[in-house]
Amino acid sequence: MRVKTKGLSRITAEDVIFDTVNYIILIFLCVATLYPFLNTLAISLNDATDAIRGNIYLWPREFSWRNYEMILTENTNIGNALFISAARAVAGAGTSVLACLMIAYTLSRKNFVLRKFFIKFLVLTMYFSGGMIPVYLLMRSLGLINNFLVYILPGMVGAYNVMIMRSYIEGIPESLVEAAKIDGASEYRILFTIIMPISMPVIATIILFVAVGQWNSWFDTMLYTSSRQELSTLQFELQKLLSSTQTMTSSSADAADAMGLLDKGIVTPNSLRAAMTIIATVPILFSYPFLQKYFVQGLTLGGVKG
């Protein structure tokens, strides 16, 4: 742009062709990204029996709220799953951010004698895992199978999140802490009255990331709590519906039937799936402006130095 003021750049044929091709590619990318969501939205807002005829693209043909009413108002398993998903997002994010903040603060104290050891101890967890079966057996022996806490405890201290927080706290001027220390403030006081208010941006980032991760996870439900229906989550219900609809149409009808929906009105598995997909996506869309604001920071702030 500065080049133009110098009057050196002329628009060449190459520029025109390049820009045109570039815009076409990027617009195609946007369409390819958005179309499936808009299409799903249109199907979810269309009358279910009419939707079987197909050919619904961006707009519902026979508008109806019925699919959503089914999920949200009738006393179904999905309504409960929605509640559990929200509960784990809130509880998971709240506890995790507090845990990460506390440990990150101690690791930011340069004179803390166990600092180096604890950092190594945490960073190492990013490189290996015990594997599915040993972890499963551990959960079982801790009594976490079919227990809501299995959603919260295992992932509470995320090493990566701790390191992001730590590097943020290390950027806070040490003089603030020292002044408080001279006044005789305890570490707890320093953490909660000085460090925490200043760290709000990074706290918000971590809350969002953990909440999104919690909202999106389904595999832990399948692995640990699938035999207790009242602990099921929205994503897992959606996964069950997906895996049954793709194998055979009749069994998907059974699956939806088992959810107590088909007998209550005219809903098809496909329409139900569309509505559930939208419900699973909406919270992400709402938190999106915030996510977007912070995740670039998070990404570039990675700061995982041993």
Binding site: V3, L8, M102, T106, I133, M156, W215, T277
Partner: protein
Amino acid sequence: MNRVARSKKSRFWEQLVQQRQLLVLSVPFIILVFIFNYVPIWGWILAFKNYNPGLGFFKSPWVGLDNFKEVFTDSNFYRALKNTLAISSIKLVFNFTSAIVLAVLLNEVKNIIFKRTVQTISYLPYFVSWVVAANIVFMSLSPEDGIVNHLLVFLGILKEPIPFMGMKEYFYWVVALSSVWKTVGYSAIIYLAAMTGIDPEIYESADIDGAGRLRKIFAITIPSIMPTIKILLVLNIGWIMNAGFEQVYLLGNASVQEVSNTLEVYVYNYALKYFRYSFGTAIGIFNSIVAFVLITVSNFVSKKVDGEGVL
């Protein structure tokens, strides 16, 4: 010498007592990490036993390396290993190049509003769950009403719709392309960040020399982000044993099993469907150790490349 060591030791304890408040803030969580991340390693013992749920962890009989021998003679294991490596390699190539291309293309857009809009839209799929993404993939590729088949038939590329999800020969491509769909916008960020560091004067002097757009891309933009590219490539190669369990599990189905069974899916099936915990653990150990070695080596190499370590 001894005295020095001892005084050092006592100083350590002294400091520790002094810093007890920091211990209160950190130790409970360190214990939590120990339980959930380190204790499972102890469960690796299972691989050397013949686990019998009736007898429990301790009383199950020792069998030495029998489970490993069985793993390494099982043809399913080699197929799962092949699938894992194939899927993650294809994903690596696709994700890697698409992210760089997108970053370069976005970098060439002069209209800030258009650029922001494209970016905002392109990150979106990164934040939805794989369950939602898999739903979208199945829906879009459906032979009855999927948009992809509609388009291909409309454009005359296909005579009639193809049931993509049920065909073995398409599975790897479906995995790779759906992965690009989900992550390209997000992965491009890091390259775009690297491009903002390029001095605009370099482009200006290239203009004076009469260099065209493509010339500038290949002579300035790409070489400037080369260090980032190298480091990320090395780091990504480190993760080659990880084909992405959620995605593969969700997109896989009975008709493509032969190509969709990765090591993790294989472990899952053995353990939780057939209750062969010991056998599954042996495969898990193989996977964890190879992955750990690869990741550690790639981190080491990337530090050498970078001088101080990336990220």
